[in-house]
Amino acid sequence: MKWLAIAAATIGLLLVPVLFGDRFVFVFIQMLTASLFALAFNLLWRHTRLLSFGHAAHFGAGMFATIHLMRLAEANVLAVPLPLIPLGGALAACLLGVVAGYFATVRTGTYFAMITLAVAELIYALGSQWEALFGGEAGLSSMRLPWAGWTFATTGEVYYIVLGWVVPAAAALYFVGLTPLGRLAFAIGDDETRVRFLGYNAHRAKTMVFALSAFHAGLAGGLLALVNENVNYGAFGGTVSASVVLHTFIGGSGVFLGPVIGAAGLTLLGALLSDVTRLWLLYVGAAFVLMMLYSPEGLAALFIANLRLWRELPWPSLVRLNLLGGLAVLAFVCTTVFVVELAARALTEGASATAVVLFGTTWSLSSPVTWAIPIALALAGHVALKAAIRQRRRLEDAVA
């Protein structure tokens, strides 16, 4: 069953350039690199419970190292096949990871987070000032050179390079958890004092995990640089560090593939929604807050909990539960989107606005119909939610 799902996903990913146009292949590439970045970040959090707020430093280091290598290749100084160049980015990030990790992992918790944040800020500040290395505001750029009959001019060809790196790298991250180092890292996350008491060098283990995480983050960055063929010091910015945290926790940090759900989902949402509404970040923020409040384990944990129920309970009652729950969520989402978009449009038009165009229809702000719709939707959501909760109680009683 598990292997079947993996095989289906692999075939699906291989077929992307055949099934979609360039524009969506590009979105898929961004989903893949964001996924690898989130997985790398989560290696550190899920095992050792170290929360890095500055992982953009490693992502950006991978981007810049890759662009520099591409530029060297373009200038005929370096003869490396193009698909191998992101590895250089990963190594550069790993080097940075060893140094930054050595210092940062002396501490844990908040202090660790502050040190990683400081390192990222430091590099960002350096990036804006050291033009020779980071290219200033306009950034550095290069162009992909052909190799072995491939021109890498189309997005589809580049997609396969990215896929060819991301899938093995993700697998490697999974298997790291099964090695002695991975087990030790889990133990450190549980109780570091005990690990030290057992005679292990916890600091060295944490540095190693940090460097591994940096390596994969750098690989993700390097792949993105290969695709964008351009990078500027904004890659080190706080939004990049924040987005990987968001991706990981919305997706679910407790499950290996959780960050992938978050990263791929939010990247896709960003690509599709940002041209539709200017408020899409507000929705993502709201989703994050709700997620942390009601399902701090993330989407993946929700999914797995549900999967477990499917094995234990009669499915007709579960279908009902999921339908009701889904309806409630849908109704609340529709209400929120309608009211927020209406308000935003009314506010931008100014105090004199009487009607607002939304979803291709004109809504009069004084008409009762305009306000009856969200109220009715919210009521419907409320009823569905109540029914879902009742259904859930009934199921829980049946199990108990």
Binding site: R23, Q129, E131, G136, E137, G139, T155, N228, S274, D275
Partner: protein, 414 residues
């Protein structure tokens, strides 16, 4: 795809049978890629607003020989990576011309993407029109036949500023240069130093400070004081400009100030009366443009509901440049971007403060600048304050433009 080919074939066959009607002219699509939701979007999105309304005005005035130009809009979120995605989306949606202005980081990505798109897809070339990203690289190392820069740069701004301040007797002979420590600030510092000799002042001290991080400018003001400078020249924007000006005002230091971004929305209202008497250089129309500017502003207000800001005016004028160029390009079944690019090089537009033209050598526009002084006598008040910008001197485009950079090596179509 197959279906598309078959349909096209069938339609051609039908057309051939019925008789040969004129092929429908392809519609020109202009895609704005701008920061609409990220940090700084409040000021950056004005370029998009201006372009949208500018194209509406152009379409009202006949568009491209009677055919309307289509406006598309994409959100770069202020990130160059997202911008890379939106460039592909825009091209996939059929855009022929890309427009951006809010950030040199995003423009840097677009310039490069356009260059590569045109190398790899010679049958689907696109044009980039840069309305506000001022990094000098775009007409230097990154200059490209299909990229047109209507934005100014540090040298253009400084040249105009010191020329006008000298003529007004406000320059003094001891200049203190304070700028943000990144490519723009460094460009500014270099320009301030370069014009010391020709304009007869000495740069008594130079400071580069962190961008948008300094909360307390008093150490810098103390340094200005101890340098005994007569004039401070700065390329700062946003909080770095507001806090600097306020600190100078609070310290009671008597010093003249020349700047480049005082007219950005919110600056005058935040910095307050300390700005009175200070100079700024920009493409700024309202008072200097007289009746012609008023007519343009009225036309704009009729469709937008508000008077345009400087950024919006820049977009509108750029849309007019495009229309002027299109007047010399024949409509056809396919939009020929190379012909449009050649026409853009020759296009000229008479703005209320003078002519704008494009220099073919590096695709830097010769834009006229207005150097103005913050005053309560200005006829257009800004930001709801009782202050505004009173024009001191208009520098015509050909005088304002900076020299062609040696690093610009442009491949022209043969």
């Amino acid at each position: 795809m197959k279906f598309g080919v078959l349909t096209a074939f069938a339609m051609t066959a039908v057309a051939a049978f019925v008789g040969t009607p004129l092929p429908a002219a392809a519609q020109l699509k202009v895609a704005v890629i701008e920061n609409l939701s990220g940090p700084g979007s409040a000021t950056n999105r004005l370029f998009a607003v201006g372009m949208k309304n500018g194209l509406t005005l152009v379409n009202k005035a006949g568009g491209w020989k009677g055919q309307p130009i289509e406006y598309l809009e994409y959100d770069s979120q202020g990130s160059s990576s997202v911008a890379a995605d939106k460039v592909r989306a825009a091209i996939a949606d059929g855009a022929h011309i890309l427009v951006s202005g809010g950030s040199s980081a995003v423009a840097g990505q677009i310039v490069e993407d356009v260059r590569k798109q045109n190398l790899r897809n010679p049958d689907r070339r696109v044009i980039f029109m840069n309305v506000g990203a001022e990094a000098s690289d775009f007409t230097g190392e990154k200059c490209n036949f299909y990229s047109f820069k209507y934005a100014m740069n540090a040298e253009i701004r400084v040249k105009a500023l010191v020329t006008a301040m000298k003529a007004a007797g406000a320059l003094g002979d001891r200049v203190f240069s304070i700028n943000q420590n990144y490519s723009w600030g460094k460009d500014m510092e270099a320009a301030i130093t370069r014009y010391a000799g020709p304009m007869g002042y000495t740069v008594v001290d130079k400071v580069l400070h962190d961008v948008s991080k300094v909360q307390d400018f008093s150490p810098y003001v103390a340094r200005i004081k101890s340098s005994n400078a007569s004039t401070v020249i700065t390329g700062n924007w946003g909080s770095d400009l507001i806090l600097l000006v306020k600190e100078i005002g609070a310290s009671g230091l008597k010093v003249q100030l020349g700047s480049t971004f005082l007219e950005l929305p919110g600056t005058l209202s935040s910095a307050g009366a300390s700005t009175l008497g200070y100079y700024t250089a920009d493409f700024y129309l309202p008072e200097a443009g007289g009746a012609a500017a008023k007519a343009l502003f009225d036309r704009y207000k009729a469709i937008a509901g508000t008077l345009p800001t400087t950024s919006e005016v820049k977009s509108v004028v750029m849309a007019q440049m495009l229309q002027a160029a299109l007047a010399n390009v024949e409509l056809g079944p396919k939009v020929d971007t190379t012909k449009i690019a050649l026409a853009l090089e020759k296009a000229k537009v008479q703005t209320p403060i003078g002519e704008i033209s494009m220099r073919a050598a590096d695709h830097q526009a010769a834009v006229p600048l207005v150097v103005s002084v913050v005053s309560k006598d200005a006829s257009f008040k800004v930001d709801g304050t009782d202050m505004g910008f009173k024009p001191v001197k208009v520098i015509p485009g050909p005088e304002a433009i900076s020299a062609v950079q040696e690093t610009c090596k442009m491949d022209r179509p043969s």
